[in-house]
Structures are given as structure tokens and as C-alpha cells.
């Protein structure tokens, strides 16, 4: 087990280093010249070649690409993400401000998606072909096809404008006003959860159906066990492990969705920060956001893999 954990940690570390290189290169290899952007942001139109050189040296842009990367990564390891070109704040402060909002939305969405999605999938599989199965399966098929930003617009129209039940947009911290916060979260969390819920239901359904036809389930039936025992002890235990391990993917999808949903509902989280920074060409913020997103995804995958290895010995020796 220890060897497995160490191996997995090293793998994770390699991916994290590779991600940092990718995020760094993404910004540097693209056509926009960072210094030109800086000048534009600060309304400096004319600049003498000497001053340009001084600035290049000041930002370390005169060095070779690998050296620039090492400067950048060593700053980040010391917690210095650089300064935003657009907001008068350091990227670190911005991220600390925005991360809890997105985390709040994402965690709620993942819980809702997993609970309802897996339950629906299990019900469908156990009562395959029934009316409920037909209904839930079609609902899931629509769920994976719906553009979530459009669902957001629909919900704003129906619940916000037409029925006037929910606030149209915005975000309030639950510590400030819990009731308002919950009311504001209903629509964005539903939108963020819907795709994940639908795909969880589909995965759970097919995984359970796969397990149900295994020999050990037939053995369990022929032993005369009660249906409840078979379902809980044998079917769910074996059928749900692969579904739960896909949670890393799900976190990544939900973060991707936050980019759209936070824009629709005007929520000041990392997703909207990302969008506005991309438009403002505020590359230190874009870098910081992407790196943070990726770090969380890698960490979640790492935790899932390690607990998977702990749950299922076949994995750690494989």
C-alpha cells in the first residue's frame, strides 16, 4: 500500500509540474506580447527603445524561456502569483477572494449530482424497462445534451422573471445572510449539477446492469438471500466503485461549467474572474486561475486513486 501511495504521489507531482509548464507556455507562446499588453494597460503609448529594454529586464522578459519559467515557478512556490494587470491587486489576493465562492457552488453541485444521479441510475438499473426507468433514462439523455448556460437563461426567465420566486442573479456569502444565499444558489447550482447528474445516472445504470448479470449475483439469489441484501451487499458495493472514482472528471467538468454559469448568474467566483481576465488579457490572473483549477483537479484525482487502491486491492498491485 505504501509503495502504491508513493508511486501515485510521484506521478501526481510530475503531472503538477507538467501542468505548471503548460500553463506557463500557454501564455508565452500565444501571439500576444506580455510587455505590449502591460504598456497598453498602463496607457503608455510612446516608449524609447532604452526604456523598453529596462522594462524587459525588470520583468525578466530578456531571459531565455526556461529561465523565465524558473523565475515564475519559484515565485509561485513562495506564494507570489504576481500582480493583476487589470485589478489593482495581487493575483493571490484575488484568487483567495474568488475561490471560496466557486468552491461553495462546486461542492454543492457535486453532492447534489452524485446523490440524485447515482440514486436515479440505481433505480433505473434495478427496475430496468419499467416506466420509471424509461422516464429517468430519457431525462438523463436530455441532461447530458442540454447547454447549461441556456438552462440558466430558461430558469431565470421562469423562476426569476415570470414567477418571481427566486433572485435573478448574484451571490451572497452564507455567513452573511443564509436564506438569501440559498435562494440565490438554487438556480446556478441546479445548472452546474445537471450535466454531472445525468452522466452519473447513465454511468451508474450501466455499471449496475453489468454487475447484475455476474455469476456471483446469481449465486447470491440461489442462496436464497433477500433482494435487499443482494442489492446492498453485492450489487451496490461492486457496481458503484467505478462510478465514484470518476469524481475527478466530474470536478473538472463542474469547474468548466462554472466559467459559463458564473457568467450567466453574475457570480463573483473564479469562473467569471477567468472570463473577464481572458478578455482583459490579464495574463497573470489567467495563469493563476488555470493553475489553481488544475491543482485542485489533480489533487482530487490523487485522493480518489489512493482511496480506490485502498478499497480495491486489485488496483494497487496491478
Amino acid at each position: 500500500m505504501t509503495a502504491y501511495i508513493i508511486r501515485r504521489l510521484i506521478q501526481g507531482l510530475i503531472v503538477i509540474i507538467a501542468v505548471s509548464i503548460l500553463v506557463f507556455l500557454l501564455m508565452r507562446l500565444l501571439p500576444a506580447d506580455p510587455l505590449q499588453l502591460y504598456l497598453a494597460q498602463n496607457d503608455i503609448i510612446k516608449i524609447s527603445p532604452e526604456d523598453y529594454q529596462t522594462l524587459l529586464v525588470r520583468f525578466g522578459l530578456d531571459k531565455s524561456l526556461p529561465m523565465q519559467y524558473f523565475d515564475w515557478i519559484s515565485d509561485i512556490l513562495r506564494g507570489q502569483f504576481g500582480d493583476s494587470l487589470y485589478y489593482n491587486e495581487s493575483v493571490g489576493t484575488l484568487l483567495l477572494e474568488r475561490l471560496p465562492v466557486t468552491a461553495h457552488l462546486a461542492i454543492l453541485s457535486i453532492i447534489i449530482a452524485s446523490v440524485f444521479g447515482i440514486t436515479a441510475g440505481v433505480i433505473c438499473a434495478l427496475r430496468r424497462g419499467g416506466a420509471l426507468d424509461t422516464f429517468l433514462t430519457s431525462a438523463a439523455n436530455f441532461g447530458i445534451s442540454i447547454p447549461i448556460f441556456w438552462l440558466g437563461v430558461l430558469m431565470i426567465y421562469l423562476f426569476g422573471l415570470y414567477l418571481g420566486l427566486l433572485p435573478l442573479h448574484g451571490y451572497t456569502s452564507p455567513f452573511q445572510d443564509f436564506w438569501m444565499s440559498t435562494r440565490q444558489l438554487v438556480m446556478p447550482v441546479t445548472c452546474m449539477a445537471v450535466t454531472a447528474m445525468a452522466s452519473k445516472a447513465r454511468q451508474a445504470r450501466s455499471s449496475i446492469l453489468e454487475v447484475i448479470r455476474q455469476d456471483y449475483i446469481r449465486t447470491a439469489w440461489s442462496k436464497g438471500l433477500r433482494e435487499r441484501t443482494i442489492v446492498v451487499r453485492h450489487v451496490l458495493k461492486n457496481g458503484l466503485i467505478p462510478v465514484v472514482t470518476l469524481i475527478g472528471m466530474q470536478v473538472s467538468h463542474i469547474f468548466g461549467g462554472s466559467v459559463l454559469i458564473e457568467t450567466v448568474f453574475n457570480i463573483p467566483g473564479m469562473g467569471r474572474l477567468m472570463v473577464s481576465s481572458v478578455f482583459a488579457q490579464d495574463y497573470p490572473v489567467v495563469q493563476g486561475c488555470s493553475l489553481l483549477f488544475a491543482l485542485i483537479v489533480v489533487m482530487v484525482n490523487l485522493i480518489v486513486d489512493i482511496s480506490y487502491g485502498w478499497l480495491d486491492p486489485r488496483i494497487r498491485y496491478g
Binding site: A18, L26, I146, P147, V153, L260, M274, V278, S290
Partner: protein, 298 residues
């Protein structure tokens, strides 16, 4: 693969004698929802090709006297802020969705499958380097990766396709690699190696065709994903250039007039959902038909 049913028929008298293709079609077309999906896809392709014939108006023609008009007999879905006919714009929007979807899948498929093929075939360090890079690509949420690439390249149809193409690479590489690892254990691979075939020949002539079927399913499913992602990008404003009709951008444009004329936002979104749904259902059907073990489970 093709002769398998015949062998079965000889050994077991009860097995019906049907060809692999016939069985494929029977399973594939066995579900009504798959036929519905195929119908929608055909409709989409026909609409895209003959857009000028179907569209009642020029999708770019502005008419300020008809600013945000309600649905009427002349304009079935009303007109937008610039007086352009919504129905015509939705009809022309099929072109953007199809072009972006297909080109992005071709780019992602070629790069991803090549990487997966090389990683799976050579193994060792090649495998480690390629697959860890793919893990890296997958660590970034696809929407984030695609948004950054598309926006930094400056938006527009070409850059959206490039961004989506890069965003889709990881899935193909992973699936291809998994397939190759399985297929390369077959005796016919060893046989062709023993008869002196080069690595390139084994990869292209033997591994590629035998690894391909499950990837067709992925491609169909990805068509839906790519159309969704493109719509998301144009919703955020980094999609195709403004005058061109794109469904995602139409949802954004209509969003401002939600109170007075909600259909401007609803109709293009419905079109996106219908098309994505169709590709997903056809993908499901293909999967059932290719892998009988999973029949009816998805």
C-alpha cells in the same frame, strides 16, 4: 471479426446465420430513439447544405423598422435587435455548428489517435511521456483550456476550431492507447512482426483498423460535446465573428430581451439541445451495435 458468426453457426446449430453487417444494422436501428437521432442529424446536414433555400430571409439583412418584433406570420420566430429574422439565423447557424464540430473532431482525432497509437505500441518511456502529457492536458477543465486558447488566439471560426481540436485530443489519445494495448497482444500482430513488417506498417495496417470501432462511438459522442463547447464559447463571446449566425451567440444576444421577447434566446438553445441529443443517441446506438455486451445498458 467478420467470420466469427459463421464459425459460431457451424458449431452451434441454434445460432442464426446472419452477417456481421446485418447484425450491426439490426441492433443499431433497433431503437426508435436512435432512428430519431439519425433523422435529426440528416435534417441538420440537409439544412446546413441548403440553408439559402430553406431560410425565408437573408440572415444578415438588417431592418431597423422590425427591431425585436414578436413572432408573426412573416417572421415565425420574430426578429432580433437588428431586425434580422431569427428563424433564418437558426437555419444558417447549422453551418457553424457542423463545420466547427466536424473540423474540431478531425483535428482532435488525428492528433489524439496518433499519440495514443504511438504510446500504446512502443510502451516504456514513450508511453510514460505521452500519457503523462495527456494527463496534464486533462487536468485543465476543457472549457477553461478551450476558452484560454481561443481567446488568446483572438477568437473567430478558425481559432475556435483549433482550440476545440486541442481540447479534444486527450480523450482520443487515452482511448486509442487503451485499445492498442489490448489489440497488440493478438497473434496476428506477432505474425506480421515475424514476417518482417515494419513498425509503421503494423501500426497503420493492423493496429489502426482493429482499434477503430470504439473510436467511432467516441467521435459521434464528441460531435455533441464539441457543438456544446462551441455554443458555450460563442455564448461567452469568443466564438465566431459577430455577423455570422452562431447558436450560442444568439442565446446571449436574446438574453438582453428576455423579458419582452424570450423566444430569441429559447429557440437557438433548443436547436443546440436537439442536435446534441441526436448525436448522443446515435452514439449510444453505435456503441450497442459495436459492443453487444453492452446492448441496452446505456
Amino acid at each position: 471479426m467478420v467470420i466469427e458468426p459463421d464459425i459460431m453457426a457451424e458449431s452451434k446449430e441454434t445460432m442464426p446465420r446472419i452477417g456481421a453487417f446485418k447484425r450491426f444494422y439490426r441492433v443499431f436501428l433497433g431503437r426508435k430513439i436512435v432512428i430519431f437521432g439519425l433523422f435529426i442529424i440528416m435534417l441538420l446536414v440537409i439544412t446546413a447544405v441548403f440553408a439559402p433555400v430553406f431560410a425565408p430571409y437573408d440572415p444578415y439583412e438588417q431592418d431597423m423598422t422590425k427591431h425585436i418584433s414578436q413572432p408573426s406570420r412573416e417572421h415565425l420566430l420574430g426578429t432580433d435587435a437588428l431586425g434580422r429574422d431569427t428563424l433564418s439565423r437558426i437555419i444558417y447557424g447549422t453551418r457553424v455548428s457542423l463545420i466547427v464540430g466536424i473540423s474540431a473532431i478531425i483535428i482532435a482525432g488525428i492528433i489524439g489517435m496518433t499519440l495514443g497509437l504511438i504510446a500504446g505500441y512502443f510502451g516504456g518511456w514513450t508511453f510514460a511521456v505521452i500519457m503523462r502529457s495527456i494527463d496534464t492536458l486533462m487536468a485543465l477543465p476543457m472549457m477553461v483550456l478551450v476558452l484560454v486558447i481561443a481567446a488568446m488566439l483572438g477568437g473567430g471560426l478558425k481559432n475556435v476550431v483549433i482550440a476545440l481540436g486541442i481540447g479534444g485530443v486527450a480523450m482520443y489519445a487515452r482511448m486509442m492507447c487503451g485499445q492498442v494495448l489490448m489489440v497488440r497482444e493478438n497473434d496476428y500482430i506477432m505474425a506480421s512482426r515475424a514476417s518482417g513488417a515494419s513498425n509503421a506498417r503494423i501500426m497503420v495496417r493492423h493496429l489502426m483498423p482493429n482499434c477503430f470501432p470504439p473510436l467511432i462511438v467516441l467521435m459521434t459522442m464528441q460531435m455533441g460535446m464539441m457543438i456544446l463547447a462551441e455554443a458555450g464559447l460563442s455564448f461567452l463571446g469568443v466564438g465566431v465573428e459577430p455577423p455570422i449566425a452562431a447558436w450560442g451567440a444568439m442565446v446571449t444576444d436574446g438574453y438582453r430581451y428576455l423579458l419582452t421577447n424570450p423566444i430569441l434566446s429559447f429557440a437557438p438553445g433548443l436547436a443546440i439541445m436537439l442536435v446534441v441529443f441526436a448525436f448522443n443517441m446515435v452514439g449510444d446506438g453505435l456503441r450497442d451495435a459495436i459492443d453487444p455486451r453492452l446492448r441496452g445498458t446505456l
